[in-house]
């Protein structure tokens, strides 16, 4: 028998959506709205009605929806469905363990720190808490990661445009990039946030038909799970096979709870600049704390629209995941192709494109913010007036987008590169988090220890991955390796910080005001104490616990239905 047929594209060739003029019209109308928002906000600014814009003035519903929307990128949507098709219901762990607890933690515990200490990025926090070398390393990593991942997002978007709609790759890359650039330059962060809220509804409308069709065709959740019983118990029971010797390819419970649920998830949600930035745009501390918690509720429900249709796809799209046919990544596009009528298809494609662009826009914003304020202002050209830095910010945005374009072409030439970048930067995520969280809760952490925690943690994360790839150590799957790699990176980084502290003293307590637990900033009515006076029905803790309870209920529901 001849060799395995190799597929070198993330989506299979041959899946072409046939869009009618009405569908294209819907896409174009949406893009007009996006640009329109940019112009409108610019106009508002020109007439000084900036009162209504971001900069600590947005209501909770807007920041909450923008928060979840910034995370709801198209790569995530498509790949959660792909994971559902490949690994089954265990994929929900990404949401109910791997997101909601961290979002609740961010809202209840971390937001007062960010809001009160007025640091605007994690690198800046590290500068104040530790020292310049910690800050520089972190800032450089953030900057590089943002711009390269923006390129990966751009490539993925262009690839989808090419394979689903037939637009040539080069044109898709450049046109998409210039479009995103224009709406960022026009309206800034406000424009990005407004677009994210608008996009959230469109994305929901892109997922709702999927869930309706998937459940109708397969006979509801119960019917779906019965028909998937042939795939083994782990496919329809999320905790089945997660004992240490078990066979659930998603991982074992230690990896899931501590690796995914704590290390990876907290690392992302507490340090991801785009997310935190949306919280910080809220009108007051209470609203900022509620932002991630408001966002947690859609997060609980979204797997119904991604994971469940992915699972249904393997029944409804014969041959999904088989060589020569469609790949798992094609699950959602294939369902669109097979079921959606005129008009609804246009909405779905609009949602997908919007999600891609917002992902790229968030990356570019992060790049711009960290480059301009953490690197340029701190090291390259300090002490200039604000005007100067705002101009630098605009130039940086443009440069960032063009670097992203270059990266996208690079990814087009070497199809695995996107994954390599994601893997590469994932090695840094957890060590940065270790540095951050220990800096926050352990006031004795020495001034230089952050740097060592970062380096050692990264080496161990990377080392685990390398040894796994070389076959020296064994994990059940790539997903399991990322979980354990995170745990190992965390422990190594923490240990390194503890050891480094022996030789190193922390900054004096006076300099740590507002940066360490127990020394929160008391700042005209925005102290954490004020939040306690908020009415009980606005308590972040209450709503946060509600979100966690909802997750538990869903787990129970899934177990019963299977």
């Amino acid at each position: 028998m001849t060799s395995t047929v190799a597929v070198s594209e993330p989506l299979a060739a041959g899946l072409r959506l046939s869009l009618a003029p009405l569908d294209y019209a819907l896409v174009i109308i949406y893009f007009i709205f996006v640009i329109g928002i940019g112009f409108a906000l610019r106009r508002l600014v020109q007439t000084s009605t900036d009162f209504f814009l971001s900069g600590r003035s947005l209501p909770t519903w807007i920041t909450g929806i923008a928060f979840i929307s910034a995370n709801l990128g198209a790569i995530e949507i498509l790949s959660m469905a792909a994971n559902g098709a490949e690994y089954g219901i265990s994929t929900v762990h990404y949401y109910w363990i791997g997101a909601v607890p961290a979002m609740v933690f961010l809202g209840v515990v971390m937001m007062p720190f960010y809001y009160g200490s007025r640091v605007r990025s994690v690198p800046e926090y590290l500068l104040r808490r530790f020292d310049r070398k910690t800050h520089l390393v972190t800032a450089l990593i953030f900057v590089l990661a943002s711009v390269l991942i923006a390129g990966v997002n751009l490539y993925a978007l262009a690839f989808v445009l090419e394979s689903l709609l037939g637009i040539p790759l080069a044109i898709a890359i450049i046109a998409s990039a210039l479009f995103v650039l224009s709406y960022i330059l026009l309206g800034g962060l406000s424009s990005a946030i407004y677009n994210e809220v608008m996009q959230f509804f469109v994305i929901l409308l892109a997922l709702v038909p999927l869930i309706i069709v998937a459940l109708k065709e397969t006979g509801g959740i119960h019917g779906l799970f019965s028909k998937l019983a042939t795939q083994g118990a782990a496919f329809t029971h999320p905790w089945n096979g997660t004992s240490l010797g078990g066979h659930n390819p998603f991982g074992d419970w230690i990896g899931i709870v501590f690796g995914l649920g704590f290390c990876l998830s907290f690392a992302y949600w507490t340090t991801n600049f785009a997310e935190v930035q949306r919280g910080m745009s809220a009108k007051d501390l209470s609203s900022a704390r509620l932002t991630p918690i408001v966002a947690a509720y859609p997060k609980v429900i979204i797997p119904l629209g991604t994971v469940i249709p992915g699972m249904a796809a393997i029944l409804l799209i014969p041959g999904l995941g088989t060589a020569g046919g469609l790949t798992y990544n094609d699950a959602i596009p294939a369902l669109y192709n097979q079921y959606l009528p005129l008009g609804v298809l246009g909405v779905a494609v609009t949602g997908l494109l919007a999600a891609f662009m917002a992902g790229m826009a968030a990356n570019v914003s992060s790049f711009n913010a960290v480059w301009t304020y953490d690197i340029w202002q701190n090291y390259l050209r300090p002490g200039r007036p604000d005007q100067y830095y705002l101009r630098v910010g605009r130039i940086t945005t443009v440069v960032g987008v063009f670097i992203g374009i270059g990266t996208a072409f690079l990814a087009a030439g070497y199809s695995n590169i996107g994954n390599y970048f994601q893997a590469l930067f994932s090695f840094f995520n957890v060590p940065i988090f270790v540095t951050f969280i220990l800096g926050m809760f352990w006031r004795k952490a020495g001034r230089g220890s952050g740097f060592y925690g970062l380096i050692v943690g990264t080496v161990f994360s990377f080392g685990t991955w390398l040894l796994y790839k070389q076959g020296v150590i064994h994990f059940r799957s790539d997903i399991a390796e990322t979980q354990w790699g995170a745990i190992i990176g965390f422990l190594a980084g923490a240990a390194a910080m503890a050891i480094a502290t022996i030789w190193d003293t922390p900054k004096p307590l006076s300099a740590l005001h507002g940066l360490v637990w127990g020394y929160a900033v008391e700042d005209e009515g925005e102290a954490p104490g004020t939040a306690a006076r908020a009415p009980w029905y606005k308590s972040p803790l209450l709503w946060g616990i509600g979100a966690l309870v909802l997750c538990v209920l869903f787990y129970i529901y899934i177990e019963i239905s299977a």
Partner: protein, 126 residues
């Protein structure tokens, strides 16, 4: 201000109802208020959902049995179009009934000063 219940209204409600009274705004402020209402995010979302809803629901009324059969026997266009129109009604009603409050020039200046002093999320300005 009427207070039927007889006890003191909480401060916030008092302010809101003060705003709902016909405001004494300068022409400049009135123009700004109109713009703020027009360009409120809810207006954008409502308008988008309205346009999308109409464009999607019309093919739904004209859908052939073959199209409905293709979509697992459900007239998806009707449902999705319907949901969008409901969302449109919700947002547009909301922005009409509870428009953003008008602000005076004085308030805007004060806010700007406060922001300058304490710094905002700087990267907003790109």
């Amino acid at each position: 201000m009427s207070s039927a219940s007889g006890h003191e209204m909480p401060a916030r409600a008092e302010a809101a109802s003060a705003r709902r009274r016909k405001p004494d705004l300068t022409p400049e402020e009135a123009k700004i208020w109109r713009l703020a209402k027009l360009f409120d995010l809810r207006s954008f979302i409502g308008a988008l959902m309205l346009i999308f809803g109409i464009l999607v629901i019309i093919p739904g009324f004209l859908a052939s049995p073959a199209t409905i059969d293709k979509a697992a026997g459900i007239n998806l266009a009707l449902w999705i179009g319907g949901i969008m129109l409901v969302l449109a009604a919700f947002f547009l009603t909301w922005v009409i009934l509870k428009p953003p409050p008008p602000v005076t020039m004085a308030e805007m200046e004060a806010a700007r000063k406060a922001r300058e002093e304490f710094g905002t999320q700087g990267p907003a300005g790109h």
